[in-house]
Symmetry: D3
Subunit: 284 residues, 6 copies
């Protein structure tokens, strides 16, 4: 890469022009998770992609979870993570751990990374200005919340002043409780409330496959009815079901396009937005 | 209290008028710590005091530390807290714990409490928009930082939009490191950078005493030279020395008045600002 | 009262919190008249109440009449006040007296009182920026006007810059005439045009009574249809009829709640707005 | 006049262009008094002149007194006007009459006249937002004040929103008293505080004359030192002395030019500002 | 004219008041062409009229063509102007000449004239910010365009900052071509897009005549249906047809009133707007 | 170029990040001329470079001349271009040709090109809002001007609204004359008045050479005193002298850095600003 000439560099920059023009001034919500959050090189690249988009005038909102790190701290503290239907059973102590890991460790570390690359980032949680409100999803799960409302005022205030909001997915309850909420759903709700141009969900899969065993059967574009059909007929199955449902929800709440993106690919966000190629499955 | 008549209530409100007028539109920084942060009733009262000041137009900035809770989590994780001259030895793992406890647990919990009382609060750390920059204080202490710069832009942006900024005292370093910093010093630096009208440092003492064994010898007002004299002659000693030095620093950086306040007294903040009484020692 | 401790004072302030939050940023129109305008102590208290509301962010608009003082000056000038159905017969000379007394004497004196208590007040009449337009009500009454239009722009300009508008109830006619208008009606029209949260009409009565001879039969809340019923069946009678009709008009023009308040009670405005008690009859 | 052709009219308008350009956006304070305030035709013309200036973008501030009408009402009320060195002896009752006549009758009537000609005017007194502050001039005179301070904020707020401020010359004292103040002095202080481009003082004289008995000896331009010389040598004498001193004060406080103008001449304000002719004496 | 007295001048200015009030803050589009653009004295007067309107707060937009000068330069360059149905056949070379003459020579010269009279003018063409978009009208005519869209943003930006936009009537095509467009139509489209209060089309005729040979048969006001009738019955004929159609188009696109004005009359614009007389035919 | 993979493209974009951050929000003035203005491919690339800089937040101002095209039209019109010391002798007819070619043809064509690439451009000349004022340089040269003042208000207004100002280098004189001015000097004056971060002068040379016959002797950076030395000792000679003097002037008027850039190199502007390479000579 180092051997590119400067005129080649200029050429590449210029070829990105029409793509930049398309997104400048628009809101793009990125749900950050999986491998892209663990692999240090991919992590650096996601940060670089965000800074570049921000510099060319895209309003980027970063939403993150952090399940593995929560389980890690739980184990260090001698608590055994337990799940029902993929949802973490969350007692009082656990939700405190979730809060510390998401809003304290991961959120501020991401903010720091963006700052170090020259961005201006401010970390938020669902508690700040009651950004994400939730209610108890199921008493059996404890402090697991279902999003009831997103208050976008603080996000818009920060975007207007050219900050990059970084949001950790915990929510506040009506009685002052804190809820652990699903990161993908939270991102979908935030993107919907912001009427975002794009929601990009970084995953560790290639996208939705017609044949899960064959990554060449990737479905590059899909409509909501088609996706609902594929859930029914079992093509979309397992952990992809909640992700697909999130995408459908986001589309229904007003997001223009939602992409389940392969976060294992280098600079996948930039490639998606600033070239004619895309990695993953786009919901319209 | 319940038996007060409404006309008595009205009378009290009206008598607070001149005090309210004095502070409306001014910036008051409150360093929150000690007993007032642990005792649930005092905690509720501090929150109520803040909300009331905010409603009558005071620009309140809440700065908090959280040493005991940091030590608590360290112990749960099998780490032994260690101190040199009262400063916590902070290795990489410890600074991560500090970050989680301060920016994750305490900060967001305080935000939640203020929200539940009807305020609009946003939690920040020294990492957000590089609010507090620091450098290594002493290699022997590890990630303990000395404040080098406070960037007030994000605080002012939030104050202008009528949010209450809640700030946890960690700082960012030049290489992207996170530093553990002394809460009182951080509050003094923030108050100085904001040219605050008042810095109130909540403590578990009555204030500065001429005779430490006799709380009736409280010094209610003191100038910077007098304080420096008392440090020299040993009247101010032990843990009160760094607190007094913080106050001196804040005054020198442009804060109008700094108060070491007895946080064990109910509604001590309101009483200080909205009556003619004061609890503690005021530096001018 | 002097013997209250400061912690008791703090307690009272804090208990007012939820009430303050309810009205901050809202518009409250106060029709000032009767005893509360004559008794010096009550007058001071009304001013204090207004300043306090103003400081906690309520947009207060003060509307005043001044019938007794008009009659007083008329008599000093050798003119005999004359009324038809409670309305002052107003010849050219009389309307000039009304203008002098209301817009000159009472208005500016009220402005001065508010200023001296630390408020920022600006006096207006219905002539300034054509704030209140009227037409002749009845040729037999001379320059008695019926409000045809309220132009709120100057009020809103002043409220936006944090002034307290004080309005004297004279109006301008289509040909440049000045009209004497009923103070309660003017207040109702102003409150309606401002879509006020509350209109408070200070009177010298306890409110609307089921049995006029028994002040314990006060009706604390009433709907518009109920009030219309009570007018029909004679429960509301005499001078209370036009007051009740004003309240109905204000509600119909968009004011949320209208209160006929007993202005003889100390700090009745604060008690109404900042406690759970109320003195008088509230129209919804 | 009616017989002018429209092309002649156009020609006149166009010839006013350079004069209009000179004053657009600038502040002109007009002290209104004397004959121009009494003669109905002149009064109409002053109003027309003000509206025209306002429409072409001049920031006009109208300051008025009203001595004769005050004396009139005093007499009707059986009080004998009394003067010491040309200053009205003003007891409590008298200052109330002054307030009623100036702030109630004259001020609002002028506002009404401007409104009827299509202007947007708001009446103020020295009490509104403490616009003019004064102290007692001489205990022997009672409530006669000496201006100590002009607070221009409310004037600037109104000018910015394109209103014409109309100011009656009473002032507020430190203890809430009302003071009767000299109109010319008040106008000079207001013009000075506003750093006005012009202060125009309408009088019933031709201006300053070298030979008071010969109106052809008018001095059309004069500097401050020259004027001081003429006071010394007696050329300026009698009632012209305080007027000249006002002009000197205004120049010293920052007004660019001050004119003692013959208000008996039709449209003298327009002629002064929009032609190359001027009526009266200009101080530089 | 020189012999008018200043009081006569003042009288004329004052009599213009109600007319000025009617147009201040409103948008008036002037299509400048014909004799008024060639005769130096008329040209000066049009500039003066525009500056006066601008100073009294009218938002003036000047639209110009320049056919004769285009033909002039063509001839100097050895090209023969050719017309089909009154439309100039415009090859690539010709459209370049049109661009140079209109956007370079005439536009900037007009800007210079307005500046020299004290105005603040900025010249635009249909290419700036794609102000006027067009498509090919007829391949036989070459680069003659039909307006498809007017983008008013740059005009509004300039008007808001108090500049006088001067627009030359060339347009941009979808492929980056430049089109020669009819000046009257362009003015009508611009006026329509701005929802102008008035469109004034300066011509070399008296207006629409019932009997073209008798200028006393001028129709001073006409409605759209009436005009369409007169086109049908031949009363409006020849070169007046496209002008009348422009007026109809402008009215249909939202302009309040359109005037075909006799530009040979001195100060015809001022007379139209600031007196009760009008020269030409007004479409409603 | 076409064969680059998208991940390679992303890599290039990301490597441009630090350069983009350096210039975002800063003003860069580009003097456009020479080969880069004639060669169609280079022309496209300059436009692309400008659009890219504009999109990443650089405030780009394009200044252009057009000598060859002026000479071209002169010849077509049978006029013989004549020069004294490299300055065009400019009679009345010639300055009109200059105006047409620069402000009409070249300016609007450049605006059109930028628009077609997605930019928002507005063409200006030195006449618009009197942007460039000049006086006669030498009567022997006729209408050749020397810049006396640059009024940046219209440029700043356009930059603030995110337009790209394109400026043709003619100037207005005190009497309304139009002056032909040297393009490089005009660009230097404009850049100085804007306190630009960079002035880039596109030329047809490699930059300043120590040995004019050997392009490998290029001087990549030079200070003002060094440049003055090289002029004295003859190293800088011929047509490079006025260019060097322009650069010196710009630096002296407050431009941070000025570059004489080889406009024959593809995307030389982007390479200069967005890579670590530079083509030409930079004055500091």
């Amino acid at each position: 890469m180092e051997n590119f000439s400067n005129s080649q560099r200029a050429e590449v920059l210029v070829q990105a022009l029409p793509y930049i023009q398309k997104y400048t001034g628009r809101t793009v919500v990125i749900k950050y998770g999986g491998n892209a959050m663990i692999n240090p090189e991919l992590k650096q690249q996601v940060m670089e992609d965000i800074i570049l988009l921000w510099l060319v005038g895209v309003k980027v909102v970063l939403v993150h979870g952090g399940g593995p790190e929560v389980s890690g701290l739980m184990k260090s503290l001698g608590k055994k993570p337990e799940f029902i239907n993929g949802l973490r059973v969350t007692d009082k102590e656990t939700v405190e751990i979730v809060q510390m890991v998401l809003a304290g460790k991961i959120n501020k570390t991401l903010v720091g990374l963006l700052e170090n690359k020259g961005g201006r980032a401010v970390g938020l949680s669902g508690l700040d200005d009651r950004l994400i409100e939730a209610k108890c999803k199921d008493p059996a799960l404890g402090f697991v919340g279902e999003v009831t409302r997103v208050n976008t005022e603080i996000i818009n205030d920060l975007l207007e002043r050219k900050y990059i909001p970084v949001i950790s997915t915990i929510a506040c309850g009506p009685e002052g409780e804190v809820f652990n909420i699903n990161g993908d759903t939270a991102a979908a709700c935030v993107a919907g409330a912001l009427r975002a141009e794009r929601l990009i969900i970084l995953t560790d899969t290639a996208g939705i496959l017609r044949d899960p065993s064959d990554s060449s059967t990737i479905i590059s574009e899909i409509t909501v009815p088609e996706a609902q059909e594929l859930i029914k007929d079992g093509t979309i199955s397992g952990g992809m079901i909640p992700k697909a449902e999130c995408c459908i929800r986001a589309i229904n709440e007003g997001v223009k396009k939602v992409i389940i993106m392969d976060g294992r690919i280098h600079h996948s966000i930039l490639i998606e937005l600033l070239t004619d190629e895309g990695a993953g499955t786009m919901f319209k």
